[in-house]
C-alpha cells in the first residue's frame, strides 16, 4: 500500500508498520498471534466445549464406564475370557470404545454442526486458518482421550485391572494410531454429509461397532462376522489394545489394518471435505 492510498481517510493515517497495542482506535496493521499459541488456544476452546456438552460427555465417558463396569461385573454376560480375569479382558476393548466415542462419534457430530453454522469458515478467516483449526481439533481429541484414559484406568483399577506393564507403551501407540484413524473417519463423515445425517450415522456406527465391530468383543468370538470385524478399524484397534495390554506386544496385522484405514480416510477427507 502506498501512502497516498491513505489520504482519503481522515484522522490519523493507519499504517501497517506495527501493531498499535494501546489506544482505543482499531489502528490497522496487526499481526497474528504466534502459531503455537493459536493452536493451543483452539485446542483448549474445543476441549472445553466438548467436555461441557452433556451428550458428548455421555458418549465419551459415561457410556464407556458403564460398559466397563457391566463387562467386569454383570453376572449375565457369559464371556469366554480365555482364562484372564474379566476386568483385564474388558479394559483394552473399552479403551478402544472410548477412542471411537470421542475421536469418531463425538468429533464428527461437533464438526458437522460447526460446519453447518459457519464456525469452520469464520475461524478459517482468522489467523488460525484451516490448518490451525484442524491441528486444534486433533489436540482437543487427544486431550479428551487423556481424560478418558485416566478415568477408565482408575475405574478399571478399582475393579482389579492389572495390565502387563510391558504393554503400556505399545498400548499408548495403538491408542494414538486408533485416534488418528477415527478422527480422519470423523472428518470424512462430517465434511461430506449434512449434520442430521452425521448425527444418525455416527451414533448408529457407535452401536454397531460395540455389538459387532470387534471393539469390546474380540473378532474371533463373533462367529461369521469375525473375519469382517478383524478388517475394520474397530476390530484392529480392539485387537491391538488387547494384545498390548494382555500380552505386552503390538500385533503387526491389526496395526497394519489400522494404518491402512488411517491413510485412506485421511486422503479421502482431504479430498472431499467441504468447508461450506
Amino acid at each position: 500500500m502506498s501512502d497516498d492510498a491513505r489520504t482519503a481517510g481522515p484522522a490519523r493515517p493507519p499504517h501497517p508498520g506495527g501493531p498499535a497495542a494501546d489506544g482505543p482506535a482499531p489502528v490497522a496493521g496487526t499481526a497474528a498471534a504466534p502459531p503455537l499459541r493459536r493452536i493451543a488456544t483452539q485446542a483448549a476452546f474445543e476441549t472445553r466445549t466438548l467436555l461441557r456438552n452433556g451428550e458428548q460427555l455421555l458418549v465419551s465417558l459415561i457410556l464407556p464406564v458403564l460398559v466397563l463396569i457391566g463387562m467386569a461385573t454383570a453376572p449375565f454376560l457369559g464371556i469366554d475370557t480365555g482364562g484372564t480375569s474379566r476386568i483385564d479382558f474388558a479394559t483394552p476393548g473399552v479403551l478402544a470404545l472410548a477412542v471411537v466415542s470421542s475421536a469418531f462419534t463425538s468429533q464428527s457430530i461437533a464438526t458437522a454442526f460447526d460446519r453447518r453454522h459457519g464456525v469452520l469458515r469464520l475461524l478459517a478467516t482468522t489467523p488460525l486458518g484451516r490448518g490451525g483449526l484442524l491441528a486444534g481439533k486433533a489436540l482437543a481429541v487427544l486431550a479428551v482421550l487423556a481424560v478418558q484414559a485416566v478415568v477408565l484406568s482408575v475405574v478399571a483399577g478399582v475393579l482389579g485391572w492389572t495390565p502387563d506393564p510391558a504393554g503400556l507403551l505399545p498400548g499408548a501407540v495403538a491408542l494414538l494410531l486408533g485416534t488418528a484413524c477415527f478422527t480422519a473417519l470423523a472428518m470424512l463423515l462430517a465434511g461430506t454429509v449434512r449434520p442430521e445425517g452425521v448425527l444418525a450415522v455416527a451414533n448408529l456406527v457407535w452401536i454397531l461397532l460395540v455389538l459387532g465391530g470387534g471393539l469390546v468383543v474380540p473378532p474371533d468370538r463373533l462367529g461369521p462376522l469375525g473375519p469382517v470385524a478383524a478388517l475394520l478399524p474397530s476390530g484392529a484397534l480392539g485387537e491391538a489394545l488387547r494384545s498390548a495390554l494382555l500380552d505386552g506386544a503390538l500385533p503387526p496385522g491389526p496395526m497394519l489394518v489400522l494404518a491402512a484405514w488411517t491413510v485412506v480416510a485421511g486422503l479421502a477427507a482431504g479430498r472431499w471435505f467441504r468447508w461450506h
Binding site: P19, T30, A32, F45, L122, T126
Partner: protein
C-alpha cells in the same frame, strides 16, 4: 510501481475485484463483477436476495475460489496469500459462524487470542452491549445479539479491511445505532469497510460508495448522491411528490395539471434531461407511466405500486395544491402526501424491478 500505468489506482484500492465470475453447478451466480473499495471509506454492496452479494464477499475473504477474474485485497490474492491477509482482514459472515456451545464472551476472547495485538475486549463488549449477555451461551442469543457478537469478532483483530455481510440484520434500532457508530469510527481510522445490505437507509446513511448488484453484476455504482442522480450537494431539494391513496387514479390527468401549473423554462434540479429517458423505464416495462420527459415536458407521474403515486418534476408549493385538487376531483382522500428527493429505495427498485422474485 510508477512505470505501470494502472499501478496508481490499484494501490489506492484496498479491495479490487475485476471481472469476477463464480459458478455453482454451471450457473453463474457472479457474472463479471467489478468492485472497488477504498481505505477510510464504507463501500456498500446493495442488492436483492440471491444477487450474488455474499458470494462476491466470500471470494474476497478467500473462502471461495473465483472461476474467473481477479480479486485483490490489500494488493494480495485472498486465496494464495491467505496467511498474510488473515491477520489484516476482519470478517463477519451472514450466518454468524459462532460456535453454539460456547458463551458469548468466551467466543470473543477466543477470536481475540488469534491476534498479536487485538482490540480491548472489555471496551468492545461494552460498546456493543455484549456485556449484558457475555455469559449466555451462543445457542440462547437472539438474532440481534448474535449479530453484535459476530461484528465484535470481525473488528477485534484491528483489520485494515473489514467485510460485513448484512451487519445489522435482525437488530433492534438501538443496536443498529451502536453498530453504525462503530462502522463510522472504523472509517475514520482508515479502515476499508465493505458491507452488504438490502437496507436502503443503511446504505444511504453509512456508505461512501454504493454498488447495486443484481444477477451477479454491478448494475449501478457511485456515491449515494450520484445514484440519486441529484447532481446538487445534499438531497434536500424536493424533486418528487409521493402520494398514497386509492389505486387506479388517473395519472395522465395529474401530469397534465402539473405541466399546466409549471411556468415555462423551469428546469427541475437534477431531473433527467429531455430526450434522455431514464434507464429505469427500459428496465421496468410493467410500470405504468405517463408523461415521459420529452420536448417540453417536465413532469413524470407514475403509479409504481397500486396506490402509490410518484410525481417527479420541478416541485414547488403550487405543485402540492395541484395534487390536492387532483385528489379532490377524484374523490380520494390521501393517506399521505410527502415531498422530497428520490430515495435510494426508489433508485434500487427502479434498477432491480418491483416484482418479487
Amino acid at each position: 510501481m510508477p512505470t505501470a500505468p494502472d499501478a496508481a489506482p490499484a494501490a489506492a484500492a484496498a479491495v479490487e475485484v475485476h471481472g469476477l465470475v463464480k459458478r455453482y453447478g454451471g450457473r453463474a451466480v457472479v457474472d463479471h463483477l467489478d468492485l472497488t473499495a477504498r481505505a477510510g471509506a464504507v463501500t456498500a454492496v446493495l442488492g436483492p436476495n440471491g444477487a450474488g452479494k455474499t458470494t462476491t464477499i466470500e471470494c474476497c475473504e478467500g473462502l471461495r475460489t473465483p472461476d474467473d477474474g481477479t480479486v485483490r485485497v490489500l494488493g494480495l490474492d485472498p486465496v494464495a496469500d491467505a496467511r498474510t491477509l488473515r491477520p489484516r482482514v476482519g470478517v463477519m459472515l451472514q450466518d454468524g459462524g459462532l460456535p453454539n456451545g460456547a458463551r458469548a464472551g468466551e467466543v470473543l476472547r477466543h477470536v481475540a487470542a488469534m491476534y498479536a495485538a487485538p482490540r480491548d475486549v472489555g471496551e468492545l463488549t461494552e460498546r456493543l452491549g455484549i456485556d449484558s449477555f457475555a455469559r449466555t451461551s451462543v445457542r440462547r442469543l437472539s438474532g440481534g445479539q448474535r449479530q453484535r457478537l459476530a461484528l465484535a469478532c470481525a473488528v477485534v483483530g484491528r483489520g485494515q479491511v473489514v467485510f460485513l455481510d448484512e451487519p445489522s440484520a435482525g437488530m433492534d434500532p438501538q443496536s443498529r445505532r451502536a453498530v453504525w457508530e462503530l462502522i463510522r469510527e472504523l472509517r475514520a481510522d482508515g479502515v476499508a469497510v465493505v458491507l452488504t445490505t438490502h437496507l436502503m437507509d443503511e446504505a444511504a446513511d453509512l456508505a461512501d460508495h454504493v454498488h447495486v448488484v443484481d444477477h451477479g453484476q454491478v448494475i449501478a455504482a457511485g456515491t449515494v448522491s450520484e445514484l440519486l442522480a441529484d447532481g446538487s450537494p445534499g438531497t434536500t431539494t424536493a424533486t418528487c411528490v409521493r402520494v398514497e391513496a386509492r389505486p387506479g387514479l388517473d395519472v395522465a390527468r395529474l401530469t397534465a395539471a402539473l405541466e399546466a401549473d409549471t411556468p415555462p423554462g423551469h428546469t427541475p434540479p437534477g431531473h433527467p434531461a429531455p430526450g434522455h429517458p431514464p434507464a429505469e423505464q427500459a428496465r421496468t416495462p410493467a410500470r405504468e407511466t405517463s408523461g415521459t420527459p420529452s420536448e417540453g415536458r417536465r413532469w413524470t407521474v407514475a403509479e409504481p405500486e397500486p396506490g402509490t403515486y410518484l410525481a417527479e418534476g420541478p416541485v414547488d408549493p403550487g405543485s402540492l395544491a395541484t395534487v390536492a385538487t387532483w385528489l379532490a376531483d377524484a374523490g380520494s382522500l390521501a393517506r399521505s402526501v410527502t415531498t422530497g428527493g428520490r430515495t435510494l429505495e426508489d433508485v434500487f427498485l427502479d434498477l432491480t424491478g418491483r416484482h418479487l422474485r
